[in-house]
């Protein structure tokens, strides 16, 4: 790196330690990869980009404390993060107070953007839309008339499950139960009443590390119906965890399978090469988030006549992102920072072999407008 370049820093915040770190690390790594691969345009403008990863430990206090640290580093112009909406919400207050732009790869919680902050954006879909898309599809599965909804009691899992439930009811499915569980290993007790209620489909709003185990245990206990879940299922690890029982499981995703977009496959390969492990869910989104940020900064610099832009200018430039072609599809932010049109994919697990994960069958693709867009279109 040339010494005369001005230094710009991009921070990431995600859990790097603790049980959720597998996803958090994937976020961190993907951002690092994006910065490494895509900082060329900025270098040409005379800026070098440094990456500062923070560990929010999936804890609000730590996230906020990090956020304070981040906003005080004048060189940091953008943040990619977080994994947990519970951490993103308070931390983004701090960013917003200081005009620092945040692009979230994973916070699907509606409140993240519904606050309407100019600095807060996300590249992923929303729980409300995703849950509803899942329910709409579930209603079309032949023979499914009753569903049982589980969630992991987190802002994410419960949020998406609630939206699923609402739409399922609207679609005329009968919801036999709505339950939250923090259990991570032994689901025996939870499975018993499900067996007795005999739902045709179980929807589990949660993350693969929990749901994969649940599914394998539910099958072993004799459950015979279908399983479905949100993008938290989208990890090759799911196949390892659920084994044969997971075959046939439906899941919605806000990220296209790498087989759909060539770029995504390239990303997965690069990732694997650099970090020696497979990319996890939200990795592609994190890469996109970082790319958008880099692009936004470059745009802001240009608009500023080549000089170091202010944070507000960067935020403005990021919000202005239009038609950005990312791994997860084209992204244009609406006024709240949601992608105007987000793709929601319905996939089905095809094999218990995790190497085959990318060959899961894509059953349906829906492009759904963000609520703000939808409202604009209907009026």
């Amino acid at each position: 790196q040339a010494q005369d370049m001005q230094v710009i820093k991009i921070a990431s915040q995600s859990p790097l330690s603790g049980p959720q770190s597998i996803l958090g690390i994937s976020i961190r790594n993907s951002v690092e990869l994006a910065i490494e691969q895509l900082q060329g345009p900025l270098n040409e403008l005379g800026y070098s980009v440094e990456f500062v990863p923070f560990d929010d430990q999936a804890t609000p206090d730590v996230g906020v404390s990090n956020a304070q640290n981040i906003v005080n580093d004048a060189a940091i112009l953008a943040v990619v993060g977080h994994l947990n909406s519970g951490v993103a919400l308070p931390s983004s207050e701090v960013y917003n107070d200081n005009d620092l732009v945040m692009v979230s790869p994973a916070n699907t919680n509606v409140n993240v953007t519904d606050r309407g902050y100019p600095t807060v954006n996300r590249v992923c879909g929303r729980d409300d839309t995703q849950g509803a898309a899942g329910a709409a599809f579930a209603a079309t599965i032949e023979g499914v008339e009753s569903v049982y909804v589980l969630h992991d009691t987190t802002a994410y899992g419960q949020g998406v499950a609630e939206f699923f439930m609402a739409e399922a009811e609207a679609q005329g499915l009968s919801v036999l139960g709505f339950e939250g569980t923090e259990e991570a290993a032994n689901f025996d007790g939870i499975i018993q009443p499900i067996l007795a209620l005999e739902p045709d489909l179980i929807y589990f709003g949660g993350i693969y590390s929990q749901t994969g185990i649940f599914i394998s245990q539910a099958r072993a206990a004799g459950y015979e119906g279908f399983f479905m879940g949100p993008d938290g299922f989208d990890s090759s690890e799911f196949a390892d965890l659920s084994g044969d029982a997971g075959v046939g499981t439906y899941y919605t995703s806000v990220a296209a399978p790498v087989t759909v977009y060539e770029t995504a496959a390239q990303f997965a390969a690069d990732y694997e090469e650099k970090f020696g492990e497979g990319v996890q869910p939200f990795g592609a989104q994190s890469f996109d988030a970082a790319s958008i940020v880099l692009q936004g900064i470059a745009a802001a610099i240009e608009a500023n006549g080549g000089a170091m832009p202010t944070r507000a200018q960067v935020a403005e430039a990021v919000r202005a992102t239009e038609g950005f072609e990312g791994l997860t599809g084209a992204i244009t932010f609406d006024d709240n920072g949601d992608p105007e049109l987000a793709n929601y994919f319905i996939l089905q697990v095809g094999s218990a072999d995790s190497a085959e994960w990318n060959n899961n069958a894509l059953l349906s693709t829906q492009s759904i407008a963000s609520p703000l867009m939808a409202a604009a279109m209907s009026s």
Partner: protein, 483 residues
Amino acid sequence: MTTSRAAVSEAGARSGFWGRFPNPTVTVGFLIVYLAVVIGLLLSLDRASLWFSIQSTIVFPAFILSPLLIHSAPIPRTWKAVLIGLVMIIAMPIIGISDSSYLELAIQVCIFAGLALGLNIVVGFAGLLDLGYIAFFAVGAYVWGMFTSTAPTIFNELGILIPPDSQAVAFIIFIAIGVLVAACIGILLGLPVLRLRGDYLAIVTLGFGEVIRIIARNGDSPTNFTNGSQGLLNVGRPPVNADMVARIGELSNTLNIQVVGNLEPLTQQILFYFIAISMLGIILVVANRLQNSVIGRAWTAIREDEVAAIAMGVPLVRMKLMAFALGAAFAGSIGVLYGAKQTFVSPESFTLLNSISILAMVIVGGLGSIKGVLLGAMIVTLLQLQVLKNFSLQLNALKNVDFVVLGFHIRDWPTQLEPAKYERFVFGILLVLMMLFRPAGLLPESRRRLEMTRTNDVPEEPPSDIPGTPNGPANPAAAGVGD
């Protein structure tokens, strides 16, 4: 009236570090130089520097621990007051203007110190092992949050939220409400369970902590009180006005300090800082007054020998309830502050691990010792929020510039072994080491020190375990809390 203990600490102060200083004037001089150096360094740190993380990790703790250092120095009281006032009321805000993350740290330290002091009343003074202490903190945060958050709770729907323009007054009233509600809940829980002995009490309080969290997490149906796992958003805070913001702006201009970020949030932080240190100050006074009173002595008596205490006319349950309620009240009031400061209240902030980490502050610092607990809270909070983090950041910075030590490229450090992933690992080791080397805590209360010395010569079979020896305690309770 505890002349002997005062004498002990004076003697300790003289003989230790301060023993080298010939007289108070030199000591004061030393302290002034010390402060000047530390503050100067802090203000001159440059975030662009490669070694920034490590530098700030050394200098900031040296600064924030200085009030304790000053307090322990053998100098006249007025000098102590002046110097501590200087550090806390003048230096800290200025440092905050230059970098508000230090303000954040200072506020967090105050919050946790307040919590630790509250828990110290329960565990340290009265000897009741409470593993669910965080629940009372949650109660305070939720009380404030429910009446100010715009989340779709029943409070919001009924339109009984406190409007933003009256939140300044309401905040103060709610601190009192937080105190009352937490204390009442403490009493309600205490009534049935305080008859249980030590470890049984521990499990019940632990369970209670979880119950409060579960209720918060599920309090969104059938009626939405807590907004469930989504948490309460946009919680109100005592607002700053344009006048204050302008003044901070002027100040920064006068001092010629460049403010990173916006002035308004900075002003808000400074306001919170002053609220936090005032609350901590009040809590310190309260804790101190409790300790040196009929109540404090009764608690010590209960801790050391319940049977003897009740036979001497100390009403066990009432005194224990009092400890429980007062500890809870501290937590409740700080919870209100916390809710307002975070502007977001969610169940995730109130887990068992938080309870445990507050307990660790109390024990690491020195059970029952107010100064020790303060130090413990500072150290554990700084460790968790600054030191360990900066360690990772430093390594990352070195990676970024491809730093080479002894021929090893830091960049080649495997990601699996990234220090950020092992903060808790390191924290765990530090906890173990601190306890092994200072089992009575960093600044033990003088009577605890007494308890410990007895065993120095006989690590294997301490004679303290001999009930009924004339001079040993007749009661194992004296050997530990929560028997």
